[in-house]
């Protein structure tokens, strides 16, 4: 069954290392996202799996079969291109039927497959239209239908929603997952949009500069990022710089700028190290003047943005750090700009990482 596995995969373009010794296993029937900023190597990895480019080093397995030397047409994959790459000289129906035709399927069976697939993508009108007569959403559906009609059990999607406008994109992304699940496919979906990856994937690999930084379910990545980069790239995070005042058995005391001490848990740092405390914006409890005990930071409300369901505050701390706090807009008290407040957070909900050698901005930059 189509488990996809790559071992020590490396690809260079000239002097640029696009993919640096990557190992990854995508499980059978999994909806898997490759997530990362542009230039991180995610599309290169996908194209290597498809056989559109050749690796410099490493091995690729699809369904247990080693496919490094197998041309793309024999890898039993379906590929959806960012630009769709619908053949402009063929109608929508001819596009969908292309795979079965060149694979020498029985023509009658090919027709049946085509119709079943079109049923699945909910597109049965305009089959005689040429691609330039179709809307972006329709072209996307035809592109997916075409990839499915060839009968592949592994679906590779290269930013399949990138060309669509926001509204259509949000609708179609759930359909992608539903289709993959209905057909028991293994799907690998490349995207730079973390919200897209989070909402439809079983698991996600976060990539940066040709390497995989972390692999996990959306919850794992959000709750337990293994690096500042993942904490920054998945969801939103506040970074508070400080130094480790005490570290015993993973219980840490961090002295932030301005002398405030906070408690947290973590194993990566020792006493005397520079460190960064990561706190998600929704973790903070906001109160007017008063001391709630535990980790308390004082500050002034600098800016308020009303976002409908949520309110976003930017709080200027006494230490001159700025932090973002997000609160539900209807169930919480409101604070005005200029109000003095205290923020508190539970030690076990924060994460501590050593201060990166190259500097914070460099570490989290995309």
């Amino acid at each position: 069954m189509p488990e996809v596995r790559v071992v020590n995969l490396t690809k260079k373009f000239g002097n640029i290392v696009a993919l640096d010794d990557v190992n990854l296993t995508v499980r059978d029937k999994e909806y898997f996202a490759l997530l990362g900023p542009s230039g991180c190597g995610k599309t290169t990895l996908l194209r290597l799996i498809a056989g559109l480019i050749e690796p410099d080093k490493g091995e690729i397995y699809i369904g247990g079969r080693r496919v490094d030397d197998v041309p793309p047409e024999d890898r039993e994959i379906g590929f959806v291109f960012q630009t769709f790459a619908l053949f402009p000289h063929m109608t929508a129906w001819e596009n969908v039927n292309y795979g079965p035709r060149v694979k020498n399927f029985d023509l009658k069976a090919a027709g049946t497959i085509g119709h079943e697939v079109l049923e699945l993508v909910k597109l049965h009108e305009r089959l005689n239209a040429y691609p330039n007569e179709l809307s972006g959403g329709m072209m996307q559906r035809i592109a997916v239908a075409r990839a499915l009609a060839a009968g592949a059990k592994t679906l590779l999607l290269d930013e399949p929603l990138g060309q669509l406008d926001a509204k259509v994109r949000n609708e179609i992304r759930y359909e992608m997952r539903r289709m993959a699940k209905d057909l028991n496919l293994t799907a690998i979906h490349v995207t730079h949009d973390q919200a897209e990856a989070m909402s439809i994937s079983d698991r996600i690999a976060v990539m940066k500069k040709g390497k995989i930084v972390q692999v996990g379910t959306p919850q794992e990545l959000y709750m337990n990022p293994n690096s500042l980069f993942v904490a920054h790239f998945i969801g939103e995070s506040n970074f508070l710089e400080g130094s480790v005042a005490d570290a015993t058995n993973g219980k840490l005391v961090i002295e932030l700028r301005g002398g405030v001490k906070v408690h947290a848990f973590g194993n990566g740092v020792e006493k005397g190290d520079r460190a960064i405390v990561v706190v998600r914006p929704e973790i903070f409890v906001v109160e007017r003047e008063g001391n709630q005990g535990g980790n308390v930071l004082r500050g002034v409300v600098g800016k308020i943005t009303f976002e409908g369901t949520f309110v976003r505050y930017v709080i200027k701390l006494e230490s001159e750090d700025s932090v973002v706090v997000i609160k539900p807009s209807l169930t919480e008290k409101w604070f005005d700009v200029g109000a003095s407040i205290t923020l508190s957070f539970e030690p076990e909900k924060a994460h501590v990482f050593p201060y990166p050698e190259a500097g914070l901005m460099d570490e989290i930059s995309v």
């Binding site: 047409e73 994959i77 379906g78 790459a85 402009p88 035709r101 060149v102 694979k103 060839a150 590779l156």
Partner: protein
């Protein structure tokens, strides 16, 4: 200014040949009264079309794998191959014709291996010649199209299960069909037009241009009367022009409807054609065809030219004694003519290019102008020259040199306008409008935005016009009586060489060889210049 450009185009380029033909309308009955002459003209013209059709089809067939190899191959030698493929385009066809004659027919060439002439002069040699000089055009057009082509279509086809051969046949080439048609048309037009070299290798065989040239010679040696000569010339030119226009219109209309036969696929057979063994043998055949039929014959004249360097032929040539005086004069004339034609072409062509690219007069007029501008490209140049001559003849004060300038202008005009209007079309209108909103006046926009962005196209267009003018023989032979350009001198020399009744003319095979050699070396310098100039093209 744009109106002026249109008027100049109509007055100098489009209308004179048309009017020229009609002034001699009354001589046509001469042909109808002489059935043998009419048959001869008709057969000659028919030969032209049959040869052009066959040669163009073969050229496209041979050019496709070559263009594929150049754009898709991985070897670093492909760049060299790419440059070599341009050679027959740059070498003036008259020199090319002599070179092929030596290679296939002369005692020093391939024939030496077989004893006697391998291929005698006539239609087969003409086909080999036309195949060789059309080959680079076809390859150039297809390479450009393949480089512009979005590889994703082909990759999509591969991921859907198509082996490379099926992917190319069902996806890539159907999408590139316009380029295939363009390559065919250009090759076809060039084959119809070529006169000088064809005349050299034709022997007793006649196609359209050779017939026209023979008529002219027979008239000047008193074999036919003036009215018969003019009648036959008008008749043949008219058929050539009308038929070629009809064929091109047909190709344009039917071309877009024509679907390449992609509906059936034969996966098992075509798989075998896709992978290394088949690709290897395909590439080998491609290179062998190129080297044996195009490259070697084209450059074969370098051998006698090189040998001539060590004989007194070379010292005679340097000192300009004997026939060489004429040669150097003709060479000077050729390059002077080329320079003047390029300059005038630039001045009158640039506004026209902008007019067409930017649709200054609206959509319809621009399309009409675009088609009109291309007409001289597809009309056989000797027919164009003949009609031009008939027109300007009525102005007694017309110096022959000016006549040459007009003829060459008419022939080269489309090249410059085409490449320039394509270049202007590539510049987004937004860029131009941005400059306007920033305060630039229309001429300022042209000077600071359009010109810098298109300077490579202007230069390469100018070099193309220059090269075309220097190697042009058909129209030149048609309009001149006394002046001789370099290719015309070569043609005349070869004809003298081929005529056993003429002796002690001072023209030997080593003289002709050296004459061709000098032309080729100069052309190479231009080729290198072209490469050098267009190298920076990717920068914008």
């Amino acid at each position: 200014m744009y109106l002026a450009a249109v008027i100049v185009f109509l007055a100098l380029i489009l209308l004179p040949p048309i009017i020229g033909i009609f002034t001699k309308w009354n001589t046509l009955h001469q042909v109808f009264d002489q059935p043998p002459l009419m048959d001869r003209a008709l057969i000659a013209v028919a030969n032209s079309f049959v040869i052009a059709l066959l040669v163009s089809a073969l050229d496209v067939l041979a050019g496709v794998p070559m263009a594929w190899l150049i754009t898709r191959g991985k070897s670093k030698w492909l760049n060299v191959l790419d440059t070599f493929a341009d050679i027959p385009f740059i070498v003036p066809t008259a020199a090319l014709g002599y070179s092929l004659l030596l290679f296939w027919n002369g005692p020093e060439g391939l024939s030496a291996l077989f004893g006697g002439s391998l291929i005698s002069t006539g239609w087969l040699l003409i086909m080999l010649l036309h195949f060789a000089f059309s080959y680079p055009i076809v390859v150039r057009v297809l390479v450009g199209a393949l480089l512009d082509y979005k590889r994703e279509y082909e990759q999509a086809s591969r991921t859907l299960g198509a082996p490379p051969f099926i992917a190319a046949r069902t996806v890539t080439f159907p999408i590139l069909k316009p380029a295939l048609i363009a390559a065919f048309i250009l090759s076809f037009a060039r084959s119809l037009s070529e006169t000088g070299a064809t005349f050299i290798v034709a022997g007793a065989f006649e196609n359209g241009p050779v017939f026209l040239q023979n008529m002219k010679n027979e008239f000047s040696s008193g074999l036919v009367s003036q009215v018969a000569y003019e009648g036959a010339t008008v008749f043949a030119s008219l058929i050539l022009i009308v038929t070629s226009l009809t064929i091109f219109a047909l190709i344009r209309i039917l071309g877009s409807r024509l679907r390449l036969p992609f509906n059936r696929v034969w996966p098992s057979i075509e798989r075998k054609l896709s992978y290394s063994k088949a690709a290897m043998s395909r590439n080998s055949v491609t290179i062998i065809v190129f080297v044996a039929i195009v490259l070697l014959p084209s450059l074969f004249v370098a051998l006698p030219a090189f040998q001539a360097l060590f004989t007194n032929t070379f010292t005679n040539a340097i000192s300009g004694s004997g026939v060489w005086g004429d040669y150097w004069q003709s060479l000077l004339l050729s390059y002077l003519l080329g320079a003047i034609v390029t300059l005038i072409g630039f001045i009158v062509g640039l506004p026209m290019a902008i007019l067409i690219a930017r649709k200054k007069f609206g959509k319809m007029p621009s399309t009409v102008l675009d088609i009109l501008v291309n007409i001289p490209l597809i009309v056989p140049s000797i027919a164009l020259g003949v009609s031009l001559k008939f027109f300007w003849q009525s102005f007694a004060f017309m110096p022959e040199f000016l006549l040459l300038v007009f003829a060459h202008l008419a022939i080269t005009y489309p090249y410059f306008v085409r490449s320039m209007s394509a270049a202007f079309e590539r510049i987004s209108l937004d860029v131009e409008e941005a400059a306007r909103t920033l305060g630039a006046k229309p001429f300022g926009v042209f000077r600071t935005i359009m010109l810098p962005l298109t300077k490579y196209s202007i230069l390469s267009g100018a070099i193309m016009v220059f090269t075309r003018s220097v190697s042009e023989t058909g129209a030149t032979l048609a309009v001149v009586t006394n002046l001789q350009t370099a290719p015309v001198v070569i043609v005349n020399w070869v004809k003298i060489l081929q005529n056993p009744t003429l002796v002690n003319t001072g023209i030997t095979s080593s003289v002709v060889g050296l004459g061709c050699g000098i032309l080729i070396v100069l052309s190479f310098i231009i080729l290198l210049l072209l490469r050098f100039v267009t190298r920076g093209k990717g920068r914008y």
